[in-house]
């Protein structure tokens, strides 16, 4: 019966190990929920129905082979290799879950669970990964200890108590963290780097098609920005970083109903691990955590003067767009140097930015309605520059409306009639008006306005912050003009702001201190810990002292209570014990300990020794203090020899 219980326990624990692996892999967006739910449902059935719900090893191996063939077919049908591989692992997990519980099956489950966890380490970078990892540590330990205790000569070992193992776990966690921080980092190849599916772009785009706004501006985060300046307070960083435009792509070619990029004439290429210097100036550092997106653009904030140690090769074109060669499939950390806010120019101080091309003066596709509106509106202006500013101010006074219907065949006329629309319409009208006034102009897509995370003290750029504005060539450089009304930024806040702030802060901590931990961070971390200790040393010393005093007091109190209880109850027990000893022919002197007297006749020495140990253990709190009835029970047991 005991062995059956131990086997059932081993069955549950090894199943838990496997499920931890499945849960870890399920975090990956590469994995189809259908496949992992198969294993989970089978595991739940197994837990519910017990080991009787099983297939033979042969039948289970058929499932594995069928999975192998199915995955081969998936590959032939064009499924991605990584996705097919995870499908196969999960089908294998299903086979192992329903396999008959044998020692081999236990080993299968632990191995497959471990492989699933390792697969997940490559296929996901979610902060939730830490949950299955921790659970795996626990269940792996318990399952291995359970399996270790089975089938010994003389019977199975009793299970080690959960409290005993729990006592070790904090030390294990701390040691794992120390090992993680302390080990040197190498990166010979990024093949096994943690990947995430490339996020579908919905706000930012390098094309503009005028009409009804079809894209979705949701809360999804595209970038997180934190300070890398030592000692910079969150308030100072917020002041430094907020209010900057994050420039993505400049669109120079107007087609009549939209904008396209102009083909770059000069492209500068920078290999991975090099620095991209945009301007000869010093600045303060920021770290930008860029989510994997389906576009290759790097968004640079106003005042960006350099990017340091870029993680992958990039190219910088003459319109100021910086792109990766291929859209990265993982989150990247970009180190940037920014000019201080008071030194910010209205455009980017970019040495690669070229003067305007003829197409940026092109007015051929400007609709007549816009030409008339520009002529009428700027008639009173003293000069063209004043006219341009006047036009921008007029546009700023109109209404921002994301959902206004726009005639896609004549979008600009429709917008001029409505006097309301979205930022691309505002930017288009101002850019074309500038061209009509004789200035070179283009529109720029990027991000503006950001969320500030109070919990973690960093900046969040979400899809809803996607924006379009205008760059006009004035006085020998490109100047930014934003005609969009300020009402654009009166966006409603999400409902769970507090929870969202904490969750985003946890994710940022995960990215900062786990996913993107580098050798250079080790010193920073040690420095931060040291600074924290120095800054709070008095409090820490005080708290430790208080805790020590409380511990000592509690110990003294505990001992006193034990002694008190022992004194009270033993006063009632000693006479009973002495009478019993006299019956056995032994006369105990006053204050003579039991250990000092002969063991009574008729009582085995072993049992008497155990009795004396138990009696003395009361005085030290090793066991509850006996009442008279407890003593009687023990004495009866002594005579009965058990």
């Amino acid at each position: 019966m005991a062995q059956a219980d131990a086997l059932l326990r081993a069955e549950r624990l090894t199943l838990a190990v496997l499920l931890c692996g499945v849960a870890a892999l399920a975090l990956s967006d590469f994995v189809s929920p259908f496949y992992w739910s198969l294993s989970v449902v089978a595991a739940l059935l197994r837990l519910w129905l017990g080991p009787k719900f099983h297939l033979s090893e042969m039948q289970a191996s058929f499932i594995g082979w069928a999975g192998f063939i199915w995955v081969g077919l998936e590959l032939v049908m064009g499924r991605e290799l990584v996705v097919a591989f995870t499908d196969f692992l999960l089908i294998l997990a299903l086979a192992v879950v329903v396999e008959a519980a044998t020692p081999r099956n236990h080993l299968h489950r632990m191995l497959v669970g471990l492989f699933l966890l390792l697969g997940a380490a490559v296929l996901t970078d979610s902060v939730l990964f830490v949950l299955p990892l921790t659970a795996m540590l626990w269940f792996f330990w318990r399952a291995a200890a359970c399996l270790y205790g089975l089938n010994w000569p003389g019977g199975d070992l009793a299970a080690t108590g959960v409290a005993q193992d729990l006592r070790w776990m904090p030390a294990v966690a701390v040691l794992a963290a120390l090992l993680f921080v302390g080990l040197p980092r190498f990166e010979f190849h990024s093949l096994l780097q943690a990947q995430q599916p490339r996020m579908q772009t919905s706000g930012f785009s390098d094309r503009v098609q005028l009409g009804d706004f079809a894209r979705q501006l949701d809360e999804q985060v595209v970038m997180r920005v934190e300070s890398t300046e030592p000692g910079e307070s969150p308030t100072a960083f917020r002041q430094r970083i907020s209010g900057r435009y994050w420039r993505g792509v400049a669109l120079s070619v107007f087609t009549g109903t939209g904008w396209q990029r102009a083909k770059a004439r000069n492209v500068h290429r920078f290999p991975a691990r090099s620095d991209v210097e945009l301007a000869q100036a010093g600045g303060a550092g920021v770290a930008v955590y860029r989510e994997a997106s389906d576009h290759p653009y790097i968004h640079l904030p106003d005042g960006a003067v350099s990017m340091l140690h870029i993680p992958e090769a990039v190219r910088v074109d003459d319109a100021g767009a910086i792109t990766f060669n291929v859209a990265p499939s993982r989150r990247l950390k970009l180190m940037m140097q920014l000019l201080k806010k008071e030194k910010l120019p209205a455009g980017r101080p970019d040495q690669f930015m070229r003067p305007p091309l003829p197409r940026e003066f092109d007015t051929s596709a400007i609709p007549t309605g816009l030409l008339n509106w520009v002529r009428d509106t700027s008639a009173t202006a003293k000069n063209k520059r004043q006219a341009l500013v006047h036009l921008r101010n007029i546009l700023k006074s109109w209404d921002y409306d994301l959902h206004v219907p726009v005639d896609s065949t004549h979008p600009i006329e429709s917008f001029l009639n409505n006097k309301r629309g979205h930022c691309e319409l505002f930017a288009t009208v101002l850019a074309l008006a500038a061209r009509e006034l004789g200035f070179a102009a283009r529109i720029v897509n990027g991000y503006y306005s950001t969320d500030w995370n109070e919990v973690g003290g960093f900046l969040l750029i979400r899809k809803k912050h996607a924006h379009s504005w205008v760059e006009v060539w004035l006085d020998g450089r490109w100047w930014r003009m934003d005609p969009t009304p300020p009402s654009r930024w009166l966006v409603p806040e999400s409902r769970f702001m507090g929870f969202d702030a904490v969750w985003e802060s946890a994710k940022m901590t995960w990215y900062r201190y786990v996913l993107d931990f580098e050798d250079s961070d080790r010193g920073d971390l040690m420095g931060a810990i040291w600074q924290f200790l120095m800054a709070n040393s008095l409090w820490l010393f005080f708290m430790i002292g208080i805790a020590a005093v409380m511990g000592l007091l509690w110990r003294r109190y505990h001992r006193y209570m034990i002694a008190l209880s022992w004194h009270r109850r033993s006063r009632a027990c000693w006479p009973l014990l002495d009478r019993w000893l006299q019956v056995q022919g032994i006369c105990r002197k006053k204050c003579q300990p039991l250990r000092g007297i002969e063991h009574p006749a008729g009582v085995s020495e072993k049992h008497w020794r155990a009795f004396v140990n138990a009696w003395e253990a009361q005085a030290y709190g090793g066991t509850d203090v006996w009442r008279r009835r407890d003593l009687k029970r023990h004495l009866r047991a002594l005579l009965e020899g058990c």
């Binding site: 632990m110 540590l137 010994w152 005993q164 090992l179 096994l192 780097q193």
Partner: protein
């Protein structure tokens, strides 16, 4: 252990490789060695793979997995070290053996109270002497260790054991940690008891008593190993051997004369060593029979007052180390046990 990779039906060459690897005992510290079990070899291989992948790619999640698994490995080693260190001195549990006889041992002892270990484990305890290997299995559970084993020594003697080897694969069966505990102890191997009578051929007994004479038993005493089973009082016996009693025969007068046994340790030229061992076996048998009646023993030149427990123990130790002597036994009177048979 219930997760041996041999269950995976691995090819023979791989199993052979695993078996070769588990023979490696790497020094961990002075007197400490570590080896792997078969699951341990697989665990180490997996760990090496994880670290290789982590170093190759710089993937911090692989670093994290590797760190967790490495710490798990270190925790198993640390727990095993704590377990072995928390074991009490086991030499006190080792009984006196009888040469050529198997002694079954079952002994329980608490683990050291200062250790925070409360894990379930099997500990192998081994020591060597003169080519013989003595092994016990210790089952640790609930802060107790229960020693089980069958000990057998071929030769009589008082053996000084310099060290005892403790090893365990607890707590999860990945590594075998062994330590040599340098706590010298003595292992007493007594001669096998030989029940005897005064009239036995080849043995000289003087005195008026016959130990095993008479057809009415007058007394009962506790059973001791070596007692003839025919003397066991079966009607009073039960399943517990410690409750068995043995009938004692002989008259009251004879019992009074039992109180002194003089043993002549001289060995005749023509007597072989086995005869001397037989003589000692008879002395031992007599000791076992008489120990509750406070007799005295003269073993060669040494005299023991067996009333005192310490003398009884010293008598046993003297019996274990007894060697042939050239002089007659000390004292006079009592029962004389000798191989000289009138030649003295």
């Amino acid at each position: 252990m219930a997760y041996d990779p041999a269950d995976l039906k691995l090819p023979p060459w791989l199993l052979g490789l695993l078996d070769g690897l588990i023979l490696l005992h790497l020094p961990l510290a002075p007197h400490w060695r570590i080896a792997m079990t078969r699951p341990g070899v697989m665990f180490i291989a997996a760990l090496a793979g994880i670290w290789a992948a982590a170093f190759y790619s710089g993937n911090n999640l692989l670093y994290l997995c590797g760190a967790v698994m490495t710490v798990l490995m270190l925790a198993t080693v640390a727990q095993a070290i704590c377990l072995l260190q928390s074991l009490p001195d086991l030499q006190a549990a080792i009984p006196m053996l009888e040469a050529g006889q198997v002694t079954a041992l079952r002994h329980e002892a608490p683990v050291r109270s200062n250790a925070a270990m409360n894990i379930s484990a099997i500990v192998d305890i081994r020591w060597h002497h003169a080519g013989s290997v003595f092994a016990l299995a210790g089952r640790c559970s609930q802060r107790q260790i229960r020693l089980d084993g069958r000990l057998r020594s071929l030769h009589r003697g008082l053996f000084r054991i310099a060290a005892m080897e403790l090893s365990t694969s607890a707590p999860i069966g990945l590594f075998v940690l062994s330590c040599v505990r340098q706590s010298p102890f003595e292992m007493t191997v007594l001669p096998a008891p030989v029940p005897w009578t005064k009239t036995e051929p080849g043995l000289s007994c003087s005195g008026d008593i016959a130990l095993l004479e008479g057809d009415q038993w007058h007394d009962l005493r506790a059973y001791a190993p070596g007692d003839a089973l025919a003397r066991v009082h079966w009607r009073k016996a039960d399943g517990n051997i410690s409750n068995w009693v043995v009938k004692r025969f002989g008259s009251h007068t004879h019992r009074e004369n039992d109180t002194l046994l003089r043993v002549d340790l001289r060995q005749p030229q023509d007597a072989d060593k086995a005869a001397f061992e037989q003589l000692l076996g008879r002395v031992y048998s007599w000791l076992l029979q008489q120990k509750h009646h406070a007799p005295a023993l003269v073993l060669g030149q040494a005299t023991f007052d067996l009333v005192q427990k310490t003398h009884f123990q010293r008598a046993l130790r003297a019996l274990a180390v007894a060697e042939p002597e050239s002089v007659p036994p000390a004292g006079q009177g009592g029962l004389l046990l000798s191989l000289m048979d009138g030649r003295h």
